[in-house]
């Protein structure tokens, strides 16, 4: 019964959540907007982002690269997704239909789904590991049991999350403020213990564990981690920002509370990683805080990570329910399984592999979201002159302007694929290899990967639209620019 009620509530939220919001409903003032964006921006995965940067950079350079990367990544997301959502009161998934097509926008839902699964794996495995490490530090379990206890804690956490979301978790999404407070407290405890125990000098002198020795390459690798991870705010921008009254009002909350906050909170992970030589926050935090404070930190990390994960699962489920085919055919517990099942499989069988390749996941976010941002910027500003046809956003038939070819815009998918290939050429997320070399100079170390990918995907999309979509009268470009 509860599942059925939750299901209907979710279907309505998913459907109505994607509908345009009228001006009378856009009632968030500047303070409200700062509060909501800050509570979303202060999330526990930032610790892992900072831990990853500690692989390459010292505290001073890491601080600069993280702040800069966070702002640059957020610049592209804000430019691409914010004005369209505020002008028309629509979420990012609906706003992606003019570029990917009425049915092709399912790609946006898929990338949202995949990125949240990745982030949830990080949060849940991190919590399992932190708990096991504290238990080992307290002598309650032996070292050889750390791995299995970590998996058990992760699976129990996933089971709790599953029960909460299928039981009707409407209230969960409203608790983001308390989750942000828990994240900030956990970070504050670790930072205080870190500075009081090891001192600022130790942190400043900390050497990155996996630096290549090439200053430019290390500097840009650290910068790129932040650009790439912050780009993954793209699917959420519209849902948050469309309640704002104007672009002017929403710009700074977006840049500061979503972008900069990710970088600033991540600094705790960077400093902890450098002070202990351990980039994994689940280990470094416990090493810093010791047993008793470690227990306190684990409680807050647990609240923060589990809360963040549940909000993420819920957002993913709502996203999946926006696919018209899933809306009434897929039951709520099954959708919950789709959102949590992959996390459980990874946590149970591949947790070490996943956490050893956490950096690959972060760079892969850039590979996926950079072309999307480039295409949206070109489509909305240059090709459509900031004008959309709102009824066509909800029309899946061939009468809708965004039907393109069977509901899919070939130009956007080709440009996205080319952008991904270009990113891979500059920086392979799996092997970290830089294939674009000119006269023995690694091109990535001067231009990074996400920024040129945004530009290349955008330019290619503009060319393809000019030579393909517009002459064939696909996508409503002539009607909208008239």
């Amino acid at each position: 019964m509860a599942a059925s009620q939750a299901e209907m509530s979710a279907i309505h939220q998913a459907a109505e959540g994607s509908w345009p919001v009228v001006p009378a409903e856009r009632n968030w003032g500047l303070i409200g907007l700062f509060g909501v964006t800050l509570s979303a921006g202060i999330a526990a995965w930032s610790y892992s982002i900072g831990g990853a940067v500690s692989w390459y950079l010292t505290a001073a350079l890491g601080t600069i690269a993280m702040i800069s990367g966070a702002l640059v990544g957020m610049y592209f997301v804000t430019l691409a997704a914010l004005p369209v959502s505020i002008k028309y009161g629509i979420d990012t998934i609906a706003a992606s239909k003019p570029m990917y097509g009425s049915r092709g926008a399912a790609f946006s839902i898929f990338v949202q789904y995949a990125s949240i699964i990745g982030w949830n794996c990080i949060l849940i495995i991190l919590f399992g590991r932190a708990t096991a490490n504290v238990l080992e530090a307290g002598g309650l379990i032996s070292a050889d049991l750390v791995s299995i206890v970590s998996i058990i804690v992760s699976l129990i956490t996933i089971a709790i999350a599953y029960v909460m979301v299928i039981g009707g978790a409407d209230s969960i999404r409203n608790n983001s403020v308390w989750i942000a407070v828990a994240v900030a407290i956990a970070g504050g405890v670790v930072l205080f213990m870190l500075v009081s125990q090891t001192g600022v000098d130790t942190i400043a002198a900390g050497e990155p564990a996996y630096a290549t020795g090439n200053f430019h390459l290390d500097y840009v690798l650290g910068f790129e981690i932040l650009v790439a991870t912050v780009l993954s705010w793209w699917p959420y921008m519209g849902g948050i920002m469309r309640m704002s009254k104007s672009v002017s009002q929403a710009l700074l909350p977006s840049m500061i509370c979503l972008g900069l906050a990710t970088g600033v909170i991540g600094l705790i992970g960077l400093y902890a990683g450098l002070a202990t030589g351990e980039p994994d926050p689940s280990i470094s935090f416990v090493q810093i805080t010791g047993l008793w404070m470690g227990l306190v930190a684990v409680v807050f990390i647990g609240l923060a990570n589990v809360g963040t994960a549940i909000v993420g699962v819920y957002a993913t489920m709502i996203g999946l329910k926006q696919v018209p085919y899933f809306q009434f055919r897929l039951k709520w517990p099954i959708v919950a399984l789709l959102a949590l099942g992959p996390v459980a499989i990874i946590a149970a069988f591949f947790s070490d592999v996943f956490m050893d390749n956490i950096l690959s996941f972060m760079y892969a976010l850039g590979l996926v979201f950079a072309p999307i941002c480039g295409i949206q910027i070109v489509d909305y500003y240059l090709l459509r002159r900031q004008k959309l046809h709102v009824p066509s956003l909800y029309d899946y038939s061939s009468r809708g302007r965004y039907f393109f070819w069977g509901g899919f815009n070939i130009a956007a998918f080709v440009a996205t694929a080319a952008g991904m290939l270009f990113y891979w050429f500059l920086l392979d997320p799996i092997t970290y290899e830089n294939r674009f070399v000119v006269n023995d100079v690694i091109v990535f170390q001067w231009i990074s990967a996400s920024i040129p990918t945004v530009i290349l995907a955008g330019v290619l999309f503009w060319i393809l639209t000019r030579v393909l979509s517009i002459p064939m009268k696909k996508g409503g470009y002539t009607a909208e620019s008239a």
């Binding site: 209907m8 279907i11 309505h12 459907a15 109505e16 509908w19 345009p20 009228v22 001006p23 856009r26 010292t58 001073a60 350079l61 600069i64 690269a65 702040i67 800069s68 990367g69 702002l71 640059v72 957020m74 610049y75 592209f76 804000t78 430019l79 004005p83 505020i86 002008k87 028309y88 009161g89 200053f215 430019h216 500097y219 910068f223 009254k245 104007s246 672009v247 002017s248 710009l251 700074l252 840049m255 972008g259 809306q327 009434f328 055919r329 900031q386 709102v390 009824p391 909800y394």
Partner: protein, 60 residues
């Protein structure tokens, strides 16, 4: 049941689209040049200065 709900959602969507269509105030303002400038300063110029500063201070 599902068909009924589907039809109900369709009806509500059409109502919402009509509301949008009849509201002359529906479309919010586009970003001004000042907005674009502020965004570029915070998102591109400041990070560029920081990165170049880090390069000059620690890169030598």
């Amino acid at each position: 049941m599902a068909t009924q709900d589907e039809a109900e959602l369709q009806r509500l969507l059409q109502e919402r689209l009509q509301l949008v269509d009849s509201d002359p105030e529906y479309e919010g303002a586009e970003p001004t040049s000042g907005d674009q400038l502020l965004l570029a300063v915070v998102g591109l110029v400041i990070p560029a200065i920081l990165m170049i500063g880090g390069w000059v201070l620690y890169g030598g």
